[in-house]
């Protein structure tokens, strides 16, 4: 498992791992997706490519997750596949695959910076992310 939910009294929090930064970004998006278990709707698929920036890796991680939430809420789409095409410490280019959702989209308000630090571990990188729900 590349992410696990950890206790948080009011909101939702995950510890997320990745062998490298690109994998951490993808796994963080999958962790966020796990909070919205929306079933398949059978409606046409949606494919988007996006570019996101941040002043450092932590900011890029939060901005990436919030960009996904923004797109889901404004486009009425739900994404379940996240492919990082290119990433540096301050920029990423990614492809999102999903579908239109007529049954409502995410209930997450935002990914936050609370206690966020991307740390090196023997296996790669790890971060704890708190979502406001």
């Amino acid at each position: 498992m590349s992410f696990e939910e950890i206790e948080h009294t009011a909101d939702r929090a995950f510890r997320v791992q990745g062998r490298n930064f690109a994998e951490l970004l993808g796994n963080a998006a999958r962790a966020m997706r796990s909070l919205d278990p929306l079933g398949p709707s059978g409606t046409p698929s949606a494919v988007r490519t996006i570019e996101v920036e941040g002043i450092d890796r932590e900011a890029l991680l939060v901005n990436w997750l919030n960009e996904i939430l923004y797109m889901e809420q404004t486009l009425g789409e739900v994404y379940d596949r996240f492919q990082i095409l290119e990433s540096s410490n301050r920029h990423l280019h990614a492809r999102l695959d999903g579908r239109q959702s007529s049954e409502g989209v995410t209930h997450i308000k935002a990914a936050t910076f609370h206690d966020l630090a991307i740390e090196q571990t023997p296996e790669g990188l790890e971060a704890t992310i708190v979502f406001d729900v």
């Binding site: 909101d11 989209v105 308000k109 935002a110 910076f113 609370h114 406001d132």
Partner: protein, 483 residues
């Protein structure tokens, strides 16, 4: 590890962590709680979060936590932090993503026994007429000009359009319009997220609740507010929806660089801030005020639809079912106020995150008919439990920047509540207690189970005994509408 041994009991139910506890603290941190509620606060990370807020530049007097304190992100929920202007900071994280999340209370002169035969129909009408749930859309289609006016005028725009009465505005914090709103500082993304959400409840802990006035503690004050034992009341709890979430995101993201520019060092990046009177601080304030106005307008439009629902079901059936507004309060907001500190009137930016303004008698910002008694304070309980009407006090003005608690406060995570409780079973249990539930998501219902919250009566008892809010009446639920 932070524990009870780090606190000094400075008075009954007031616990202080001295500013010497950590090198970066600028003021002491205070928790208003009895021993059990303090133990509950120490059960998660909330007290560390409170200590972190005591490091903010310009923080004055104490960083304060109410008895409903629990872990949030950046600031704890149930926190009050004031910074001295002009140097003191304003922090978007100190307001949170749901800017001006708040509560409105309406009361009727109809007795519960009169409406009881129609309760199921009323609950269904409310559920049908008041859009709820994730991604719910409102009935109003707003042009860009309309949206600008909502952002800058709040409930006043609703009055112009016939969705509010003059009395509604008089009985709303800031009269339903936070001054300083400038729509030019609200991003296109925030507009896009909020455009079709005006008049929607959302999900999570937001609700509409039909209540019975179960007990009145202060007959004179309650009568002044139109609250009588045995009558029907309605509460609305919601905020600024996607628009507020995006405003907060925009500025938390932008201020990551701003703190570096100002050389501000913080223990948590969610606490990012800017000097309140700086260009950046003022830009956030203008945008936050817009989101706050959107939230006032949102609760006002929902009020219109609640009244419509009552009319739909009760017209021709019973008399005096009209709903009059007791008050509307914000519990996530930053406001510029003047408070007396050590004998001096000082201009401060008060962050209330999960806490309620509770101005006492004599406050010039209250409408004339409330100046003698103080500001009504609305404390919703967890689903299926009591809620309270309090009144603001002079002691709150002296001790807590005119603030008090905001609710029961969570004590169990959403994930754990969902594992412990089945939504359908909870709905059925509440029904056997005479409480109707209309909810779009049974999982969401389980997350909000009463077992996940502290005892609201205990929280209210603490603020009542400390005199930072005085009990007026208790409400008990009859029907709950949730997303």
């Amino acid at each position: 590890m932070l524990g009870k041994h780090n606190f000094v009991c400075v008075a009954e139910n007031i616990w202080e962590i001295p500013s010497t506890f950590r090198d970066d603290m600028r003021v002491p941190a205070r928790v208003y709680a009895d021993e059990d509620l303090l133990d509950a606060a120490l059960g998660d990370n909330s007290v560390v979060q409170l200590v972190n807020t005591a490091t903010l530049p310009g923080v004055i007097k104490h960083a304060i936590a109410m008895p409903d304190i629990h872990q949030g992100y950046g600031f704890p929920i149930g926190g009050v932090v004031a910074t001295r202007l002009p140097q003191g900071v304003i922090s978007p994280g100190g307001v949170g993503y749901d800017i001006n999340c708040g509560v409105r209370l309406l009361v009727s002169q109809a007795a519960v026994e009169e409406i009881r035969p129609f309760l199921e129909e009323i609950a269904s009408a409310l559920y049908a007429n008041c859009p709820s749930g994730v991604g719910s859309r409102g009935h109003l289609h707003l042009t860009n000009t309309d949206l600008d006016r909502v952002l800058q005028e709040g409930s006043r725009w609703m009055l112009e359009k016939g969705y509010a009465s003059r009395e509604d505005l008089d009985r709303t914090e800031e009269f339903g319009r936070v001054p300083g709103a400038d729509a030019g500082f609200v991003s296109d993304r925030a507009r896009e997220r909020g455009r079709d959400q005006l008049g929607t409840l959302g999900a999570g802990n937001h609700f509409i609740e039909v209540d019975r006035v179960a007990e009145v503690y202060d007959q004179a004050t309650a009568a002044h507010l139109g609250i009588y034992s045995g009558n029907v009341a309605v509460q609305v709890h919601c905020g600024s929806r996607g628009l507020g979430h995006q405003v907060c995101q925009d500025y938390v993201s932008r201020f990551q660089k701003t703190v570096r520019d100002y050389g501000i060092t913080l223990p948590d990046r969610e606490l990012v801030c800017a000097p309140c009177d700086s260009e950046e601080g003022q830009e956030y304030f203008h945008a936050m005020a817009c989101a706050a106005n959107f939230a006032f307008a949102n609760r006002q439009l929902l009020t219109h639809m609640i009244r419509h629902s009552f009319e739909q079901v009760l017209a021709g059936q019973i008399k005096d079912f009209e709903l009059r507004q007791v008050y509307d309060i914000a519990h996530n907001m930053a406001k510029v106020e003047e408070h007396e500190i050590n004998g001096h009137r000082i201009r401060v930016c008060v962050h209330r995150k999960g806490s309620t303004r509770a101005f006492g008698p004599g406050s010039s910002v209250l409408p004339e008919d409330l100046r003698d008694i103080g500001q009504p304070v609305l404390i919703p309980g967890s689903m299926g439990t009591a809620s309270y009407v309090l009144i603001g006090t002079t002691e709150a003005m002296q001790q807590t920047f005119g603030s008090t608690c905001h609710g029961a406060g969570r004590v169990m995570s959403r994930a754990k509540a969902k594992k412990m409780v089945r939504g359908t079973e909870l709905r059925d249990q509440l029904r056997t207690r005479g409480i109707l539930i209309c909810a779009g998501s049974m999982g969401g219902l389980a997350e909000e189970a009463p077992v996940a919250y502290k005892d609201v009566s205990r929280v209210v008892e603490v603020v009542h005994r400390l005199r930072i809010g005085r009990k007026v009446a208790r409400l008990e639920p009859l029907a709950v509408i949730k997303g």
